[in-house]
């Protein structure tokens, strides 16, 4: 299954991330964000960070999870390539794996995660999350 793909958007970056489950699609959305900064396939899972989030909706969960990755990039220089995600009701427990940004050549930045065109679609055996980010 394709992990993620980018779609045209004039000023920002738009992508769709896929997975068999919501958690897998969310992980791939994280990878799609990292891939806007550097080639995610080159990142080694050498460092881990854990966090928990509680939100009132799945849309907010998507935005909060991706925003937390952005926060880790800017404050700890962390780039995510993999994640163990446990979602129970409105709570997410995350352990994300990746490496320091210093070890990679970067080609872009993500300024913020938007709600614009935010979509979560679930068909049997496939989940799609669509996000537009400010770059």
């Amino acid at each position: 299954m394709e992990e993620f793909r980018y779609l045209p958007h004039t000023a920002d970056a738009k992508f769709q991330a896929f997975g068999k489950t919501f958690a897998q699609a969310l992980k791939n959305a994280g990878r799609a964000i990292t891939n806007l900064i550097t080639d995610v396939s080159k990142i080694k899972p050498l460092v881990s960070h854990s966090f928990a989030l509680t939100t009132k909706s799945e849309e907010n969960l998507v935005v909060d999870f991706l925003q937390e990755l952005l926060f880790l990039t800017e404050t700890k220089g962390f780039l995510m390539c993999d994640a163990d995600l446990k979602i129970e009701g409105s709570e997410l427990k995350a352990k994300v794996h990746g490496d320091s940004i210093k070890n990679y050549e970067t080609h872009g930045q993500v300024k913020g995660i938007t709600y614009h065109n935010l979509l979560i679609k679930k068909n049997s055996g496939k989940v799609m999350i669509q996000v537009v980010v400010d770059v």
Partner: protein, 475 residues
């Protein structure tokens, strides 16, 4: 949508559906064609559905699709019965442009351009995740958030001329650092003095053409070939987080509003709510961070030039102007006078001559308006007009506006080839990454000459000078 031509370079869409007021669009036929290729016109119409919007919504010649508000969108709201919309200001609060003039000529610069670019590249961190050389405590960060340029002045990074030639004198007075979240402060704490990436840049430019010599002289632009320096950046991670925080507050505190919106990114806070006051105070604080950031970067640029030339080189600030901001401004006179909250997202304030908020130095001309082009194309300096005040809430375009997505630009252009092509034209680029160049290819942007010309034709700006790039630094 029913688009009517009002006069040369001015179109209008009358209210339809949930629009409360008309949408006025400043554009040439060609720029209108570009606007029809993405969703910006629809976004402009959506913008006019917000409560308390006054008179009409505005779209600038360089408008293009953003999220919620179009980039290049201007909307003014009743101070008491309107709203404030964080997405109508943008994630990069006070993304702004500074223009420094110099006493150098191109012939002085030519043999030393690479040395100067190298020195600036060493002094001004750019690129993703870059950290500044200035390490701040949280207390010091709070002082910057509350006082902006005043902090830089106190520390010796700035001077009195910088203050006079900065919008709001570099300090939004209603700022309150307590309204900025801890997360935003953690993001911004180590980023003071950094450029960032994306479309942020530093440019060494030469004056290419002067259209109005008298005004140009007042602006510190004296002759063609004169070297200037342009800085384009904003409030970095701190501003971005602040926008995110208040969009979430809008969502949580006013769920009924959120559900009733034509586009969720138009989330707003009602003017008379505490949350709206808090956001304005937070936005002002983030703006102050950007004002201070520009002055640190200018200080480093001045030192880089002095390292290469000598202490006699001067780089006074011509002006520092914002293009993602909301301001409380007065319009009209006598009984018609009213205070409005003007949202400018990817648009620039443009005060007419004799407006009292102009610096004394620029009272007879109106303050300089700076329209940066894309890498490899021109930038423009304009002056404000009365017509901009009456028809566009004292606003002009902020840049050339994107035509092509970053994704498409990366597929069409290669950074190494572009760099080489630009060097062939004697434009030298230093970038933190190749993709930083290809995404910013000139072909990915609208024609800045057209944007400036249309501003003049529509009467919302008066062309003063054209600058062209000589050296570019990109994140």
């Amino acid at each position: 949508m029913n688009i009517k031509t009002i006069e040369n370079a001015i179109y209008e869409i009358a209210p339809e559906g949930r629009m409360r007021v008309p949408l006025r669009i400043f554009a040439s036929e060609k720029l209108m064609e570009h606007m029809r290729t993405d969703k910006c016109l629809e976004q402009g119409m959506n913008m006019t559905t917000l409560p308390g919007i006054y008179s009409h919504g505005v779209m600038m010649p360089d408008a293009h699709q953003g999220y919620g508000f179009p980039i290049g969108g201007v909307a003014a709201f009743d101070i008491d019965r309107g709203c404030i919309s964080p997405g109508g200001i943008g994630y990069d609060i006070n993304c702004s442009v500074s223009l420094l003039s110099t006493n150098l000529d191109k012939k002085d610069m030519k043999p030393k351009i690479h040395s100067v670019l190298e020195r600036i590249f060493q002094r001004v961190p750019c690129g993703v995740g870059s950290e500044g050389a200035i390490k701040l405590s949280f207390d010091e960060l709070d002082e910057i958030l509350n006082t902006g340029l005043e902090w830089a002045l106190k520390k010796g990074y700035s001077d009195e001329n910088d203050k006079q030639c900065t919008e709001e004198h570099g300090c939004m007075k209603e700022a309150d650092s307590d309204k900025i979240s801890q997360k935003a402060k953690e993001r911004g704490k180590n980023q003071l003095g950094t450029l960032g990436a994306g479309n942020h840049f530093l440019e060494i430019q030469e004056v290419d053409e002067i259209f109005d010599a008298d005004t140009a002289e007042i602006f510190g632009i004296y002759h063609t070939g004169q070297i200037c320096v342009m800085i384009h950046c904003g409030s970095r991670g701190l501003g971005h987080q602040t926008c995110t925080d208040y969009l979430r507050i809008a969502d949580i505190r006013f769920p009924d509003i959120a559900h009733g919106l034509v586009d969720r990114e138009l989330a707003y806070l009602p003017s008379n709510s505490q949350e709206a006051k808090d956001y304005f105070a937070a936005m002002s604080a983030a703006a102050n961070f950007a004002f201070a950031n520009h002055r640190i970067i200018s200080w480093n640029i001045r030192h880089a030039f002095r390292d290469v030339f000598n202490d006699r080189v001067e780089l006074p600030l011509t002006y520092h102007i914002a293009h993602n901001m909301a301001k409380k401004e007065d319009f009209g006179t006598g009984h018609e006078k009213r205070r409005l909250l003007v949202h400018r997202k990817g648009a620039t304030r443009a005060l007419a001559p004799y407006h009292p908020n102009n610096p004394v130095r620029y009272m007879t001309t109106g303050h300089p308006i700076i329209i940066p082009g894309s890498m490899g194309t021109a930038s423009y300096v304009l002056a404000g007009t009365e017509k901009a005040a009456t028809q566009a809430f004292a606003s002009t375009p902020h840049g050339a506006g994107r035509l092509m997505s970053r994704h498409s630009a990366n597929r069409q252009y290669r950074g190494e080839e572009l760099k080489s092509e630009l060097e062939h034209r004697q434009i030298y680029v230093k970038s933190a990454s190749w993709r930083g160049i290809s995404e910013e290819a000139p072909g990915a942007y609208k024609n800045v000459d057209e944007v400036a010309q249309v501003s003049q034709t529509a009467g919302i700006g008066r062309m003063v000078a054209r600058l062209k790039p000589f050296g570019v630094i990109k994140g």
